[in-house]
Symmetry: C2
Subunit: 295 residues, 2 copies
Amino acid sequence: MNQNHLNEYVKLIEEQLCEFIPKENVMQEDVIKAMRYSLLAGGKRIRPILVLEFCRICGGDVKAAMPFACAVEMVHTYSLIHDDLPCMDNDDMRRGHPSNHKVFGEDIALLAGDALLTMAFDIMLSDETVKQVGAQRASKAAGILAKAAGVHGMVGGQVIDLMSEGKSISVETLKQMDEYKTGALISAAVSMGCVLGGADNVQIKAAEIYARNIGLAFQIVDDILDVVSNTEILGKPVGSDSQNNKCTYVSLMGFDNAKNAVNKLTEEAVSALDCFGEQAKCLIEFAEKLASRKK
Amino acid sequence: MNQNHLNEYVKLIEEQLCEFIPKENVMQEDVIKAMRYSLLAGGKRIRPILVLEFCRICGGDVKAAMPFACAVEMVHTYSLIHDDLPCMDNDDMRRGHPSNHKVFGEDIALLAGDALLTMAFDIMLSDETVKQVGAQRASKAAGILAKAAGVHGMVGGQVIDLMSEGKSISVETLKQMDEYKTGALISAAVSMGCVLGGADNVQIKAAEIYARNIGLAFQIVDDILDVVSNTEILGKPVGSDSQNNKCTYVSLMGFDNAKNAVNKLTEEAVSALDCFGEQAKCLIEFAEKLASRKK
């Protein structure tokens, strides 16, 4: 994706996220601060970018898709806050900053996560949003997100992760876990963009292949970076996966095979977009950018 | 509400809840068990009953409203699971049984709550449901639930509760907290029923007054029962509020004033339903039943 186009999206997304979270409210001040803290802590904004760009190349209105883009990012952020809690991964750091519960306490972190998940649906289904995109598309897109975030999607992947802890698992199980844990939400973002843009069936199929391939490539790159990057760039300790005895694509496939897999998946993602022609240029660059990222 | 009519609703609601939660899935078995454990642990099913009955008296199709009734109960159940967690109220018991995290562990309990909240939106926005009730009503009803469950509703009330802990608060603050914490969801249930039944503005206004009054009466009765009931009937230790130094309506208003307030609120709830005529008979009995309940 063209860097300017990408930066423009990120700017719009962050402005909009900032606007959706209420600023002042004496009573609920603490939880709102906690919501803002994690939601506006940077991040690559991959999921909302995918919503907006797929909406655009399918011929939809990017501005009207913004609440849906923000909703996916809210769901992603809630999952990070809950994942970091002591009863889950017990991570003190996230994106180079203390994790939410380290700053606000476990109780507020839990509620901030709950509130972000709930707010995602609130903004997608507000009277204003429904008026903009129509009830049919709004309910369809919100329904896609609900399915992807649930027990047969992201939460399900989290459960598989918990169950696999300390066990040696196969590449296949790892893939399946990631397909639920992170792939489902990336696929949802892409599908939501398609729905909001009024995509036809050929476009939806192509978008799904793109999503599945970049989703898996993204996870493998994460594992590679855990081995080769340095703590400063990554914002978390390097080598933490192997220290935690976690099965990774690198530990299971070997370093070179993992790198080759990323290239192959990215190629498949790119070629899936043939049906979009010139319009897909940005999404092709985006896939390549994700594959070659250093953090 | 006529006892037979009520029992019929409860039976239908519980059958439907049971059906919505997937039964078998090796990978996510633990979290599904945890979801079922809390969702099917009895409870009064007040919120789903209100969805169904308001839908009916406004002229809607009760069967089509069922996913929305179940969704409200899922949101209610998720909030109980998260409330009981050690980082929140740290309650070992709920409805006479060990609380979710005591049985399944904190990690699974957290995820079961997340999954129930997400599933609520999944079932309201599924293709099947949208086809049944129409996208306009589905998105409107789901949007009402999202707003009521969020930071300006249930979660917000939870935050006020946390912030008030150990402090002496006024009756007004306690009322405000309960309006968010439990009132919002009860009002949402009623409004959703109205939307699904195609209510007019007069009906919606009347239903809102009913909801606000029975919601507050419900909370006051809870506090009264904490003083006068016994552990066996209540399913939790009697007097736990005063032992925990919690401000209650009884401690703030005195016992007799609290009882009088319940009666007054219930009367106001009942008279608000005048515009529904004979049709409101069940809802009138329901309000009276809630006011005179022993657990």
